[in-house]
Subunit: 139 residues, 2 copies
């Protein structure tokens, strides 16, 4: 089993007026969380001077973050959710549509890849009379 | 030029009593920030029931995060700092020494790899009479 999927994306050629102020980025990020169906626990945003912004949203399903370099038309993004990989992809799709990068470097990582199957499956299978069940997450 | 270095590490076989409560993990993370020399802007921590914890620290240099699964003796870590890669490695070293994992899956990514050299270097080189200067970060 695994515990989560992580999309690590650097967006180039993004409109620098969006990347310059934390307000525009925070709006997009809060909407990304809603669109993806994730559960926000807390968030922190920061405005750099003279321009540039950072933000991290702590989710029940892990976290999302952004860091912008408006002078390079660059924002580096992390979307990490445990449970369904569809949630991660949905958030990514929303960010692509909102930020409209001209170029993207993206990596998709599976987190907790080496969690042994037997840790959870044995007692669950016993109690379910041998039906196939995936491991249970702690959230 | 690039904008930052990102260590993505899943630690297995960590003492589950450390991973179960947010207090022990928050203490280690706050100390990791201090040891690495990073500048903390804000942090959010969360205690899951019956066990498990998450935390994100927003840094002037980007962010660090953890998400624990004590039932799997697993913590997934992200250390992302812009500027010096030594800061990222120092934080990673501190976490290795504090959490003592039996097994580690680690990826090292360079963020903002496709930022063109010419964006910043041209005017700086002009004013420095041709000496070699790396691009300037926005922080």
């Amino acid at each position: 089993m695994t515990v989560g999927s992580h999309i690590i994306a650097d967006f180039y050629g993004v409109d620098s007026s969006i990347l310059s102020t934390v307000d525009s980025m925070a709006d997009i990020f809060e909407e990304t969380v809603r669109y993806s169906g994730a559960t926000k626990l807390a968030s922190n945003y920061y405005q750099f001077e003279p321009f540039g912004a950072s933000g991290v949203i702590l989710l029940a399903e892990s976290h999302m973050s952004f860091h912008t370099w408006p002078e390079h038309e660059l924002v580096t993004l992390d979307i990490y959710t445990c449970g369904s990989p569809e949630m991660t992809e949905k958030a990514y799709e929303y960010l692509l549509n909102s930020l409209k990068p001209k170029k993207v470097d993206v990596h998709r990582l599976t987190r907790g890849l080496s969690v042994p199957e037997h840790v959870y499956s044995k007692p669950i299978i016993d109690s379910m009379e041998g039906s196939k069940i995936k491991g249970v997450l702690s959230l």
